[in-house]
């Protein structure tokens, strides 16, 4: 068991233990968002949505994406095998060298799946096809915003020694 769980699969970039934690972490946050967010908005209006953002996303950020070092090692604790130690449930693949995978992936797809399950039996394929361009627009917007934000690493400024 120990051998199996701790075996680092190089082509997958993670060990079986990381697969289990990633699936479980994304399950938890998606389930709580689907169950609680709409109900909070029903009960409290827009304030309920803002409360949900803090309580659900903030709390599950700590569970899924927290990184080591509270003022001790803000840059992360180096692992002897390279990369940084990770404590969040959603593993960043290839010891953190992969592009950032956010729990928003799980939330978006989970809401898509639950709406698909809730739509009527004969209409599922139609509503799935209808939603695809809207999902594509959301993803395109994210790509634009994220890529432009990433450009600040290339702006050439060297303020206060920060990279």
């Amino acid at each position: 068991m120990y051998e199996f769980l701790s075996h680092y699969v190089s082509w997958l970039g993670m060990s079986p233990a990381n697969v289990i934690t990633t699936v479980f972490g994304s399950f938890c946050v998606t389930f709580v968002v689907i169950i609680c967010w709409g109900r909070l908005v029903q009960d409290f209006g827009p304030i309920g949505g803002m409360m949900a953002a803090a309580f659900i996303i903030g709390t599950f950020w700590v569970l899924n994406h927290k990184l080591p070092g509270f003022g001790i090692h803000p840059e992360g604790i180096p692992h002897p095998d390279g990369g940084l130690k990770q404590f969040g449930l959603i593993y960043q693949g290839f010891r953190g060298a992969s592009p950032w995978v956010d729990m928003g992936t799980a939330i978006g797809f989970g809401l898509w799946v639950t709406c698909l399950c809730e739509s009527e039996k004969g209409q599922r394929c139609k509503s799935a096809i209808e939603s695809l361009p809207r999902v594509g627009a959301a993803i395109l917007g994210g790509i634009i915003g994220g890529a432009i934000t990433g450009l600040v690493g290339w702006s050439g400024a060297n303020l206060f020694g920060y990279r």
Binding site: T30, G49, I90, I107, S131, G141, G145, G146, A147, T149
Partner: protein
């Protein structure tokens, strides 16, 4: 036009998340990350879903700003750190599996838990005399 507003809302949400979140974590640790969710996701949710920048109609499949955050995270990592897109795919796959499981489970719970029976609309048809 609704597509354009979806793209703009997604771009703002992704840029806010990945411009602010790492810096807040580096400055304030765990509490910075929690606080960032409170200040960034709340205002993005208000703009995108309460005011309706994202194109969602009732009765159709919900498009969440989570899609934007997800793609922004990957593209931010690609541009900022020169990482490889293929290396994100295993984790994305795991996240999709977990999200799909949770979506199915939540639909099941909503269908069968009496707490989610909406009083305003009838969910169960009237039982006929043969029952």
């Amino acid at each position: 036009m609704r597509y354009l507003s979806t793209v703009i809302g997604g771009a703002v949400c992704g840029a806010l998340c990945f411009g602010i979140w790492p810096e807040m974590w580096k400055s304030y640790g765990i509490m910075g990350g929690w606080l960032t969710a409170a200040i960034v996701i709340s205002i993005c949710w208000y703009m995108n879903h309460w005011l309706g920048l994202f194109w969602n109609q009732s009765g159709q499949i919900w498009v969440d700003q989570g899609w934007s955050v997800a793609s922004a995270g990957v593209s931010w990592g690609l541009v900022r750190f020169n990482s490889h897109f293929a290396q994100a795919l295993p984790v994305v796959g795991c996240c999709l599996v977990g999200g799909a499981l949770a979506g199915y489970a939540a639909a099941y719970v909503k269908r069968n838990n009496p707490a989610f029976a909406c009083p305003s609309k009838p969910t169960v048809p009237e039982a006929g005399p043969h029952v």
